[in-house]
Symmetry: C2
Subunit: 348 residues, 2 copies
C-alpha cells in the first residue's frame, strides 16, 4: 500500500510531532509547525484519508490524530531505507564515553547502560553465545581426590569452568598430558567442532581417558548453554520517565517482564534472525505482553560471526531516529571491541 507523496509527508509530520510531544496532533498544530502550504482544512481531509487507510487513529471525536502501529511501521520502514545516509551521527553519541570494561561481563553491563542512557529506554544486551567462537584452550586442574576443574578459555577471553567428579583417579601429570593433547587437536576450532571431535576421539581410543573425555564432553555441553546470567538490562527505570508508563498497572507489568530474564533472552534471540537493525512495533511482537512497547534490536559480531543480540525496549512512542542510530552504533562498537580482544588473544 503506497501513498501519495504529499500524504506521506503529512503522515511523517504527524508521527514526528506525536513522537516529540506525546500529544494527539490536530490540523492546526500541524499547519503551524510544518510548512506544507496547505490550510488546516486540507490537512484535515488528508488526515481523514490516512485514518481510513489505517495509519492514524482517533482517541475520541474531538481529539487530534495519533499513529497506529501500522503508521509507525510505514514511518520506520521509510527511516531505515533512507538511513544509509547516517553519516551525521548524533553529537551526543560521539561525545559519549566509550566502553572500557575489562572482562566480558563488565563490558556487557556497561553496554546496556550505555544504550539506556543514550536512548532513554531500557537497554538490553545478550552476552555472546559463541557456538562459532574459537576455543583457545582447555585446561584440567586436579583439585582434591577425584575432583577436577575443567577450564574453557575462548578467544575473546571468556573463562568458563566446570567442576566434575571422576570415577578414576588421574594424576595431574596425566591431566596435563591430556590437556596439551586436546589443545593440539582442538585449538582454533569452534565449539561445535570441538564437541564433534571429542565424540570421535572417544570412539577412536576407547581405553584411555574415556571417563575424563565423557565428562569433558558433558561439561562442554553445559558451558555452551545460556542462562539468565547472560541477559543484561540497564536503565530500566529510564522507561518510567515516559508518560506512557504513568499507569501503575503498566509499570508493574513492565518490571515483571524485565524480571523474567529467561523469557527476554528467548524473545531477543528469536527476534533477530538476519543481520542489521530490526524494529518491532507495539503488538508486532507477540512474545512481549506489555502493551505499548517497541523494541529496536541488532546483533553484534566477533570477527565474522554473529554472537549476540542487543537493543532497546521502550514505549511505542520513542525517538526512533535517534534510537536506531544508538543501537546501530552500539552494536558496531561492541563488535569492534570484541574483535580487538580476539585479535589481541590470537597475536600472542
Amino acid at each position: 500500500m503506497d501513498l501519495e507523496e504529499r500524504n506521506k509527508k503529512v503522515l511523517q509530520a504527524v508521527i514526528d510531532s506525536y513522537i516529540s510531544t506525546g500529544a494527539p496532533v490536530g490540523s492546526n498544530v500541524l499547519c503551524k509547525r510544518y510548512d506544507f502550504g496547505l490550510s488546516p482544512a486540507t490537512l484535515r481531509n488528508i488526515m481523514a484519508e490516512l485514518e481510513e487507510k489505517g495509519f492514524l487513529s482517533h482517541p475520541h471525536t474531538s481529539a487530534g490524530r495519533i499513529p497506529t502501529d501500522q503508521g509507525y511501521r510505514y514511518y520506520i520502514d521509510g527511516l531505515i531505507s533512507t538511513s544509509n545516509e547516517v553519516d551525521e551521527i548524533d553529537g551526543q553519541i560521539r561525545q559519549a564515553p566509550t566502553l572500557q570494561g575489562s572482562d566480558v561481563k563488565e563490558l556487557m553491563a556497561e553496554a546496556s547502560q550505555f544504550l539506556a542512557t543514550l536512548s532513554h529506554c531500557a537497554g538490553v544486551v545478550i552476552a555472546p553465545n559463541e557456538p562459532e567462537g574459537q576455543y583457545k584452550h582447555i585446561e584440567f586442574v586436579r583439585l582434591r581426590g577425584r575432583e577436577v576443574l575443567i577450564i574453557f578459555v575462548t578467544a575473546t577471553g571468556t573463562v568458563q569452568n566446570k567442576l566434575i567428579d571422576l570415577d578414576e583417579r588421574i594424576s595431574q601429570h596425566e591431566l596435563s598430558y591430556f590437556s596439551s593433547y586436546l589443545d593440539d587437536e582442538l585449538e582454533q576450532r569452534t565449539l561445535p567442532e570441538v564437541r564433534r571431535r571429542l565424540v570421535e576421539q572417544m570412539q577412536e581410543q576407547k581405553q584411555v581417558f574415556t571417563g575424563l573425555m565423557e565428562e569433558t564432553y558433558r561439561a562442554s555441553q553445559e558451558v555452551q548453554g545460556r542462562d539468565k546470567e547472560t541477559v543484561f538490562i540497564g536503565g530500566a527505570s529510564q522507561m518510567l520517565e515516559s508518560p506512557e508508563f504513568a499507569n501503575v498497572e503498566k509499570m508493574r507489568a513492565l518490571f515483571k517482564a524485565f524480571e523474567d530474564k529467561y523469557k527476554l533472552l528467548k524473545l531477543l534471540d528469536r527476534s533477530v534472525t538476519a543481520e542489521g537493525i530490526k524494529v518491532f512495533i507495539g503488538s508486532e511482537n507477540p512474545y512481549f505482553e506489555v502493551q505499548g512497547c517497541s523494541m529496536v534490536v541488532s546483533n553484534y559480531r566477533v570477527g565474522a560471526n554473529v554472537v549476540g543480540t542487543l537493543g532497546v525496549i521502550g514505549p511505542t512512542r520513542m525517538q526512533y531516529k535517534q534510537v536506531i542510530q544508538v543501537v546501530d552504533y552500539t552494536a558496531k562498537l561492541l563488535s569492534r571491541l570484541l574483535g580487538e580482544r580476539l585479535q589481541k588473544g590470537l597475536d600472542r
Copy 2:
C-alpha cells in the same frame, strides 16, 4: 520510655490493623475489631495520649491514626524480644520449595527470589564475601606467551580467576611447581592470611618468582574486592503491589535505587554489624533515600564465619511478623546449604 500495659496493647492493635488494612485506624474500628472492653471514647483518649508521646500520628484532623516510625520501632522491638518462641513457623514457609542451585550464584539468585515470594517485598542477597573463607587451592595455568591464568578456589567451591601478563617467561612446569609450593604454604588459610604470607614470601626469597608472586598478590587483591555482580535482587516488582508505591514518582525512585547495586551493597553491608535480625524502619536508614521503606536484614554464615547479608526491602507498612520469620528462616537455610557444601568440599 515505657507504656502502660493497656496502652501498649492499643498501640499494637492500631499497628496491626494498619499493617493489614493500610487504612488509618479510627476509634470505632478499633473498638469493633479488637475486644478491649473499652468504649471508642476511651480508646480515643488513649490514642491521643499515644500520639502525644510520638507513637502515632494523624494524616489530618478527621482521619484515624497511623503509626509513626517510632511507633513501628516500639512494635517491632516487642516482636523481636518475644520471637524466641517462633517454633510455630508459618505453614507457607514450611511447604515452600527449598533452594537447589548448584553453583553459588544460582543459589543466591534463588534465595533472593525465595525471599521476595514469601515476603511480598523485594528480596536482596549479597553474595558471600569470604575474607575469612579458606582458600583451598591456587592454580596457575600458562595460556600463551606470557599470559597466565590464576585460579583461586575457595572451600565453598567458588572459583575466581584472573588473567595476568608476566614480564618473564615461565614454563608450565615451573608454574606447577610454584603452585604446589604455594598450596603447601597456604592451604586452609584465610585470604587475609594468604595475602600476608605472600608478602612475607616475597621478602624472603627475593630472587625467584618475584614477578609472579607480585602478580599473584595483586590478583588476590582484586579477587577479594566485591562488585555489583555480588548483589542479587529478586522480585522487585512485588513491591509495586503495595498501594504505598502507587505514586509514580516513588516507584521511579525505588527502581533507580535498585539499579544502583553498588550503593545497595554498601547499604546492606554497613547495616549489619552484629549477628541476628535487624530491622530498619523508614527514615532510620539514612542511606536509602526512598521514603517509606523498611529493611529487614540478617546475615548468613559458612561454618562459623559470617560471610554475607540478606534481607528484604519493602514498604514501611509491611507484615513484619511474617517477614522477620522469612528472613530468619532464609538466612539459616542458606547457612546450612553453604555449610553442607563446605563439608562436602573438605571431606574429599
